[in-house]
Symmetry: C3
Subunit: 418 residues, 3 copies
Amino acid sequence: MGSKYPPSVRGCLPLWTIALELAFLVIFFFFTSYDTSAQDPKELMGIYRVLQDVTIMAALGFGFLNSSLRRYGWSSVAFNLFLLALGVQWAVLMDGFLEWSFYKKVIIKLSSIKLATMNAMSVLISVGAVLGKANLLQLTVMALVEVTAFVAVRMVDRKYLGTDNHTSMMYIHVFATYFGLMVTWCLSRSLPVAALVEKHQTTKNSSLFTMLGTLFLWIFWPSFNSALLDIPNERKTAVFNTYYALAVSAVTAISVSALSHPRGKINMTHIHNAVLAGGVAVGASCHVIATPWLAMVLGFMAGLISIGGALCLRAYFNRVLGIHDTCGVHYTFGLPGLLGGIVYILLTFYEVTWTKNSMVFFQLFIDTGVLSLAIASGLIAGILTGLVLSLKIWKAAHVTKYFDDQASWEFPHLAVGF
Amino acid sequence: MGSKYPPSVRGCLPLWTIALELAFLVIFFFFTSYDTSAQDPKELMGIYRVLQDVTIMAALGFGFLNSSLRRYGWSSVAFNLFLLALGVQWAVLMDGFLEWSFYKKVIIKLSSIKLATMNAMSVLISVGAVLGKANLLQLTVMALVEVTAFVAVRMVDRKYLGTDNHTSMMYIHVFATYFGLMVTWCLSRSLPVAALVEKHQTTKNSSLFTMLGTLFLWIFWPSFNSALLDIPNERKTAVFNTYYALAVSAVTAISVSALSHPRGKINMTHIHNAVLAGGVAVGASCHVIATPWLAMVLGFMAGLISIGGALCLRAYFNRVLGIHDTCGVHYTFGLPGLLGGIVYILLTFYEVTWTKNSMVFFQLFIDTGVLSLAIASGLIAGILTGLVLSLKIWKAAHVTKYFDDQASWEFPHLAVGF
Amino acid sequence: MGSKYPPSVRGCLPLWTIALELAFLVIFFFFTSYDTSAQDPKELMGIYRVLQDVTIMAALGFGFLNSSLRRYGWSSVAFNLFLLALGVQWAVLMDGFLEWSFYKKVIIKLSSIKLATMNAMSVLISVGAVLGKANLLQLTVMALVEVTAFVAVRMVDRKYLGTDNHTSMMYIHVFATYFGLMVTWCLSRSLPVAALVEKHQTTKNSSLFTMLGTLFLWIFWPSFNSALLDIPNERKTAVFNTYYALAVSAVTAISVSALSHPRGKINMTHIHNAVLAGGVAVGASCHVIATPWLAMVLGFMAGLISIGGALCLRAYFNRVLGIHDTCGVHYTFGLPGLLGGIVYILLTFYEVTWTKNSMVFFQLFIDTGVLSLAIASGLIAGILTGLVLSLKIWKAAHVTKYFDDQASWEFPHLAVGF
């Protein structure tokens, strides 16, 4: 019950993901080879460490960050792993195809896997908004489209707008948020919000798992923000600033959440949202901020707008716009990412003015363009993907089965009254 | 109730583990000393990082991987830590005694602790099959025997069969699996399978803890597969191949599990089993595979046979052979390990043929011998250990107390109806 | 109900933490700047790795270590993060102000953040004893006082008693324990112990979360003990000794816990307490112990006294002294830390005697002084803080609301019967 498709049809859907995996295999066979050049072993281990940090964030951090729904914990963690594993493979290919020529093979380096993992994180961010409303096949399609779009946007940024690798990556937060919001808008138009309250309940333990994911992200965020910086001193500055912004946003999140409640009680969902806001907000400008207080101000403001957004906008988004943001992606990544983008533009403008560069307005124009491009492409690609995903060919679960592990998991051994 | 031995007798059993620890202390006093040679501090930190990765896998990964049983979570995690701590001490001694002469002391280096941790992992793999059917004293005996046997097999591999350090270690999966299966065969002969169904239930939260362990192993598996390779380029290739095999086996596991169910539902136990299969299968040959597609094929096949085995063989093993494999060790480590061993033999054979080496069949013979030795010694050592452990002197818990934390844990503060 | 203060008053309390955060911001604005000197990038990454290890211990390890109380899991983890984020900021300032002159700005390096995180850990240790009896504002005050006191004690150690950076840090365990015990003594004088039994219950899952925290601490403890050692060989020795002491104390903890129960059952609380005791005990002397057996003896003794203390002293502390030690901080950190301090004094004495140094008794006197200073300052600062915190101005929760997440958390989405 719950699905109007006969079991035999639904059982065949995974064939598509297997076919996709085999297609990947063939593409890798024809078009890729490993990097076999000799390299300084210590440098190699340095890149490997950063890759591990990023993978921990992607698999453990994002996996458990979205596991707070009482009935959707298994899907959150396992689908996250699935999308990560798939997204990384696709991102390596996309990065290779868009950057190198078609005549020679794509060379796979450790650093290209690192970059691919970061690109694939865009999917993991978006999925936080979509989770519970799409089946695995829909998520797979979404992952492929999103990775393609994000890699393409980054290539445009770098080739035509002169943005560096780091900055174009840091707009991942706004791109992925608005992509996810648009997809969830298309999928949740018919969502009977009131009826889902029961499924949106959390439990003490699932909140602790979410906290575990949040802490992994909190700890390794400095690695993420400094992963694409090559100059050692910029890396150091990025680590400093991210560390300070995160520390301040953790303190702010807990204080402001208590302040916003008439009896001073803290809301766990606010914490999950706002603790990371500092790291997001400081992302784009973490290598140019020269003093701790500026990073701290950013962390403070990010914590404020993250909780402020969750308090003021959530009902509006849910009821009026009909955008149902499952895990509050808009408040964790979207708004702080916007803040970070604006601050980066202002900082660059200020710096350029200071050096009395005549190009000052041109630079302002370009920087604004890069941020707008990230938002616009996220919105457009998201709405297109969402429209495609709301077609009936995907055999999505019925709306009564939303946010329920039982739609996709077998529970043979499960106790009755857990 | 439940045990036919008077409390005073059972209470004295831990004395043996304390006595053993004191015996270790005396042996370390007489026969070991620290490595005090000056070393490049950065190289040192490199080894320390790998040691940390391997310890995370052993303590957190294996600890939580086996925690899915509803009533056996505490024992899984705590006994795992106990066996790791004990196994590492014993493995350092064994490695030292078998490799150096008796005239001088065993020198303990960081790399020998790393090696010892990897040797001790054989116990943590086997214990997955035995868990719930043996008390701590039986597990201790098993750990001592298994570490000794595994270190001895590896010494034979290296000294008489010319195998390198890495390859002989990678047969840990087949050795440990068949060791564990034999031990559990001896212990579970009288197991009333039907009556244990209730104890085999899992809960949502314990499955999430298992997922946590699985993810830790998934993330750090590239470190494990490259830990014993010295040539930087081989390490890099090993990391690449392991990463790709794991990514593909994660995708395959989730897809195939859904495909094998008539209504397309995924089985969590399959995921725990098959997600890691790619890393296991690629182990032995991860430093010689030169292209990503081959690693991906291996990952795909490993995922397939892992789930296929769990679907087809589990009932046969449980009912017909009477081998009760608590956590599906055979499907996570055994079958993929076998696949990996065979692929390694074929790859070496192919490479040797290619170079028109006249020793080609001799090499094939040797390689097959190494794999067979690992399996045979696992089976024989396992059956001997199992027979010893099924003696009554160990005062094992009664069969009705199997898979139950209450046999070995005090619950003073526990809520009644949790 | 439960609080005699009107909601509006309690709701305003978080204003103080926000004001504090803004004050920090202003201080950082005027008095600090980043270290911008060029540095060897590999050395930099080495420090960053250690910083990450220490942060994992602080955020994940201590966060989950204290989460075993059935109704206090959320507070344990979130307050821990709050105090860490706040404590690190304050410790960076304190370290800077006490060590550099007031004329120039405090330079923030990666290593000063590392040091600040370690200083802030003193708060995380103490909080284990206080948890459940103080609101967030009280904990904030406690954190500020404790970090100040600990940094001051360490400065006295280094400037006037000639202690090195490492040793003065390793007395963190005794300092923080006695600080925490004194604070909890002042706060728990009116505690109706019998009535709280129900709230002290643990659950299977919350114990697994605690085990997760314990394992993180266990795995990264060698990083903590070697973090402040500069000579590579001393670092190596510190890692060796910590590793061995931890391995032995894990084995001892589980064995002795089973031995102390008439029917050989293991107590989970003992495990959480005693598994880490080896790492604590070996802290002060981990760089001078030259043989594994001595580290193992220390680990064994630490495990023994940790469980022995928990068995014999807990009731005495609870009933007679009225010191209610929520998470057994005295047995995890206090007693093993004392043992470690005494062993360090004896080892130094023995070494000095051996070299026929005439200063032998002077050295003994100094070393004893350093240990006594740590204990005495912990006791005095703790009792003063406790007295201040037991004033009514802090609007603490009523005693019936102790150990209850509901005093500080909003549960909007929580299921009724979880």
